[in-house]
Symmetry: C2
């Protein structure tokens, strides 16, 4: 799939893959940077891939989007409290502490993760591991029949 995108020159911002509510079926969330025409082209290309069951374009839907990142940032006795303040403001969590670093877990939309990352960069970000963005449409369940969702 990655090579398909590269050949076509699509600029992929983010991909996330995980199990779906249907056994054996994964759900892949892809963010493509481009105009609506381009997004439609991506949709059509994906539809041709044999293993792809369904493609939904949620560009114009009301959605909730979330990403998770683990960020390992360098600390010194004099920077630690400032870093901890930022972590607090972003409602992020410290998940590991070492003598010269702390590891932070942050979740939110892409902008929130970028903001905290940019604020931590001056202290020395040793490693960042981002999951890529997942998204879900807001609101009502269409065609609710009490069984597993087919689409």
């Amino acid at each position: 799939m990655a090579s398909l995108f590269r050949r076509r020159g699509f600029n992929i911002e983010s991909i996330a893959v995980g199990e779906s509510e249907l056994p054996g079926i994964s759900r892949m969330t892809i963010i493509v940077d481009g105009a609506n025409v381009l997004v439609e082209q991506v949709r059509k290309q994906l539809d041709k891939v044999v293993d792809v069951i369904k493609v939904t374009d949620i560009t114009n839907e009301a959605i909730i989007s979330r990403e998770l990142a683990l960020i390992k940032v360098k600390t010194t006795p004099s920077t630690r409290s400032e870093i901890m303040q930022m972590v607090d403001i972003f409602r992020a969590k410290i998940v590991d502490v070492a003598t010269d670093s702390i590891t932070v877990e942050v979740t939110g939309d892409e902008d929130k993760v970028n903001s905290l990352y940019n604020l931590l960069k001056p202290f020395g970000v040793r490693e960042i591991s981002r999951t890529g963005v997942v998204a879900m449409t807001r609101g009502a369940l269409a065609g609710d029949n009490g069984g597993p969702r087919e689409e």
Copy 2:
């Protein structure tokens, strides 16, 4: 990369892809279900892929691992409070509410996400979108030189 794994018969449990701390370089976290010998084979195969810069096997390292999931679960007036209790116990967050559903954001290791998912299933999970797992080694920074991490 996916087709490489399929051809070789490796069983991929999870893949997460996101930007790394090095501009233009992504970090990919892959969970392979198998014995250590198999994991070593996967490492060797990945090392041969042209675009791959470095492969690190963290099977036997002390790590922090995290995943994020959005879960849309069906609600009725009589089930809503029970669902909200479970969300609370898992320190998950309700990120959207509709008349007949709520959407929950949960983060944690794979087991935690699986546990909440399994508890919500009987109520009717309409959709789950999982990011896949990211991981980071615990503790000290090796060869710290104050600059961006090279590996």
